[in-house]
Symmetry: C2
Subunit: 570 residues, 2 copies
């Protein structure tokens, strides 16, 4: 009741201000799955709901999404999900998170909403979701929050910083940003708007830390115009450009270069086709009439008149470019003289896959251009001087760095202190921390809730935990040995034979001796214990089988396969 | 007989020259496991025998070594293994390869030989091997080969290019090299010697391609002196420096800095201790008396007077630095104020592990310095201009780039052509290619032998093949389901119960419904087929169980666990 009362009187200046509570649900201490819950009193506003691709430890996992269990008992307090921009690490978890959160309303700009729509349609969730179109001039009431938007630059149009006004003060969350004074297809970041916010007074800044380790300024997207111009001017054969399907601005630059140099464009890769189509419909991607041709028709176009834009710049195993590099794409085969451009840099962990693709493409006769060999990519994230500029414009009282590995958050924090923010006003948080901030009491990590990655594997969301992953790790490193023992339930002696089956352990045909010896070890273990104990304790005997076989195998070959004893009583 | 004759008359100028045959057994199309066989007539000389660390596709594999099966029927023709320098990717496979090749004599300079000795002793092979000490002034007769050595620079002393003189002409194999005019602990590369070789006439150059993609010159090792000086001058607490145990020159630099700034040195990590000890004994590492203290004693030394040199700069899971970063090293715990220096750059594929270590060290309160934040590493490999310098000095007639991913070999080839080598005189080879080169017929890939990675897993060398790895991949991605069916051999009907066990598939306790349903699917599959076919074909029924369960599981949860049906007849 008192909370109800509190809420109704949110603007009552006589009431004591409550602290603002920030709960990072992803992206703090990692790159990806960005999500944050912000609470004021009874009201919760959520910023972004992104996904992360699994690292090599997460065996068999398709995607990683934020752990939203903190919100489980607070669903009725969620006033909305506000999305900063349409990249996977900011919207990709929505199909999984929305149902769990009871489909709260989603707010974002048009292109972002378009990309969310594509995604929800694929998951057959579009009808259940409430998508609200906003524009930077609007503010949205969400309980005691008033949410506004300030344009920033990124490698996709419609990227916004969010401004959460509350009775406790103003929180600014930058989303991903850089300051691009000459962007490709959008106005520059609203520097005056940010400066006005600084004058108004910003309580707390949650700022992007992704590229804080890079000195200087990130280059403008526009520098790539010259690159593409040069590539298109000199390529003798077809041009294939691989990039993220969501880098709509990059796709636009390629289209512009193709137009200038008289090439047609074909889009390859499901997400590239879907996203581009939507962006064309919404007017975010301008492709001259007749220029776009279907991938099925590329062989009818002379090599010098064709450019292909495809997915797979990160070496994803089932992506278009990886298939093309492996020579098993249905529609696109590399021809000698093709120029392939990888317009991205590998995300940490993808270096090897990207490198394999480059090698395979060169072997097939392509001229491959990639970052390091030629400037074919610029980052969408601001470098150190831009992080400083953001701090200088907003002059926040408190700083909570977001979006980055721990060392990046720490570096962002160091910069803030260097610029005059008192050290006690800066907090390096991690996923699951509960951070309270108020002009009265400062900023502090007040609690930490249990937080874990939520894994998506096939249709299972969150059912894969540490036990299953540990088993997969064991299985992956030395395989499995199944020992099937059939015993007479009266006498406790071996009835039918003893079956030993292994997979991923040794090549059975060439290791018959080893497996024979293993069989003898198991037989000995059983007979010793059935003699000792009668036909008693099968769990005990299973453990004996496991232990003695495990020891035998390790002695013999220094491997530790998983051993699964099965006892069948007849 | 004619070959015998031929050999005895190797220097007979009237006999037609035979082609020189190069068989890359590792390192062409990859970084690591460098090895090459060179044949002239009846004689074979081998250059290096290195290992490679497995990539994430090679599940459970400890090491990858060269496939030497080409040599299996040629053991009596091997005249020696010549080692360019003592890094793992050049000597690491010796313990596995030497026994397979019948322990041919090994030739190298002193430090290299010392490192090989450490390695062979660990494998209890030292007594079986013949290790021959050479120096750069010597030449070694090896059948019709006369092998000489030319000093180059690298991040380890005693790095040599090899000169193989044969009746067909001179082959120069650079090993790993850079041109360091101000090296730390060795003379500069023997440029005059290389120039003399160029005047004498080089038939074919096998040159390092590792860093050909980097423009300009690689910096001298000496630039790190300033870095270490600065770090040692400013660090308030202890200094930990992680680097490769085989970067003896780097270790020397740290020792020098420690001496200058009055710190004691402790070595942590088995290979660091072993290598340093050997290098000290041989006089390659100079540590002032009383400066070296045991890791057990570090807590008796004030923080400001201690520097620790440890392994683990690549984030290797069981290395000293990874244990320290995880807070579970036996002797070294991070203290607030420690400075940790990662004096290396991550090898492709190790980026994520290195990044985790950095984050964990920062969380523990360390100030972490790594490449990108500060120049704490220089490469041991020459950049593009050095590759050109080598080509310019040697002026080879034919070029076969070695040591590198395919794209690096291709770039090296491009440079050679740019410098005037006719394109038909350059060959981009890969592991397993058989390349013939002769002044009479040019250079050509004449054949390709079956070549595969040889995996070391525990004590097994080469017993892990594609079948086992494929099974491990299957097991790792969705786990395993074992179905044990006990049937009456007379009636063909289910006798005892039906056991379903899964590991790494779903968390069994939370998925009882799914496993119950799976059981029903299996029962149906069995009853349908035993009814149809009597108690007949168990393989057929196993396949039915596998197919129907696989389909059921995929429908339900879109996963594809390995399914192992076991039928026990009683």
């Amino acid at each position: 009741m008192s909370q109800q009362h509190n809420r109704r009187n949110g603007r009552d200046q006589r009431r004591p201000r409550l602290p603002l509570r920030l709960v990072p649900l992803g992206g703090l201490g990692e790159i990806g799955k960005n999500m944050m819950a912000v609470e004021y009193g009874d009201d919760i506003v959520i910023i972004d709901a992104g996904l992360m691709f699994p690292d090599e430890e997460m065996l068999g996992v398709d995607l990683v999404i934020p752990d939203t269990s903190y919100l489980n008992d607070k669903l009725d307090r969620i006033r909305g999900i506000f999305i900063t921009h349409g990249h996977e690490d900011h919207i990709g978890a929505l199909p999984y998170v929305l149902p769990r959160l009871g489909f709260p309303p989603v707010y974002s700009l048009q292109l972002t909403l378009g990309l969310i729509g594509v995604k929800l349609r694929e998951h057959r969730l579009l009808d259940l979701a409430t998508l609200n179109l906003v524009d930077p001039a609007m503010t949205i009431k969400a309980g005691q929050f008033t949410v506004g938007f300030v344009r920033v630059n990124h490698s996709i149009p419609d990227a916004m910083a969010l401004v959460l006004r509350t009775p406790a003060g103003v929180l600014v969350h930058t989303g991903d940003y850089k300051f691009d004074y000459t962007p490709v297809d959008q106005p520059p970041a609203d520097i005056s708007g940010l400066a006005r916010l600084g004058e108004e007074g910003v309580l707390v800044l949650c700022g992007d830390s992704t590229r804080v380790e890079s000195p200087g300024f990130t280059q403008s997207e526009r520098v790539l115009n010259a690159t593409f111009d040069e590539i298109f001017a000199h390529a003798e054969g077809r041009i294939l450009i691989a990039t993220f399907a969501s880098l709509i601005s990059r796709v636009q630059q390629v289209v512009n270069a193709a137009e200038k140099h008289g090439r047609k464009i074909s889009l390859v890769g499901r997400s590239m086709v879907n996203n581009a189509q939507m962006a064309i419909e919404l007017g975010y991607l301008r492709v001259p009439a007749g220029m776009l041709i279907r991938a099925e028709d590329i062989d009818h176009v002379p090599a010098k008149e064709l450019a292909i834009i495809c997915t797979g710049s990160q070496g994803e195993p089932t992506s278009a470019l990886t298939r093309i590099a492996n020579g098993d794409h249905r529609l696109v085969q590399i021809q000698t003289g093709d120029t392939v451009v990888l317009s991205s840099t590998p995300i940490v962990g993808n270096e090897r896959a990207v490198s394999h693709n480059i090698d395979n493409l060169i072997k097939l006769g392509a001229n491959v251009l990639y970052q390091g060999k030629m400037q074919v990519h610029v980052s969408g994230h601001g470098s150190r001087e831009e992080v400083k500029l953001m701090l200088a414009l907003l002059r926040p009282r408190y700083v909570v760095p977001v979006h980055g590995e721990y060392r990046m958050l720490a570096e962002h924090a160091r910069l803030a202190v260097e610029m005059g923010v008192p050290p006690e006003n800066v907090v390096i948080g991690q996923d699951g921390d509960i951070i309270e901030v108020s002009p009265d009491t400062g900023v502090e990590i007040v609690d930490h809730m249990p937080y874990g990655n939520v894994y998506v594997d096939g249709l299972g969301v969150g059912d894969i935990g540490q036990v299953v992953l540990r088993d997969r790790r064991l299985l992956s490193s030395d395989g499995v040995i199944v020992v099937v023992v059939t015993v007479d339930s009266d006498t406790g002696e071996l009835a039918a034979g003893l079956d030993i089956i292994s997979r991923g352990f040794v090549y059975e045909r060439e290791s018959e001796g080893l497996l024979e010896a293993a069989r003898a070890v198991v037989e000995r273990a059983i007979s010793r214990h059935t003699q000792q104990r009668g036909h008693a304790d099968w769990n005990f005997i299973k453990n004996k089988i496991r232990d003695s076989l495990s020891e035998f195998v390790y002695q013999k070959i220094k491997r530790r396969p998983m051993i699964l004893p099965v006892v069948v009583e007849v």
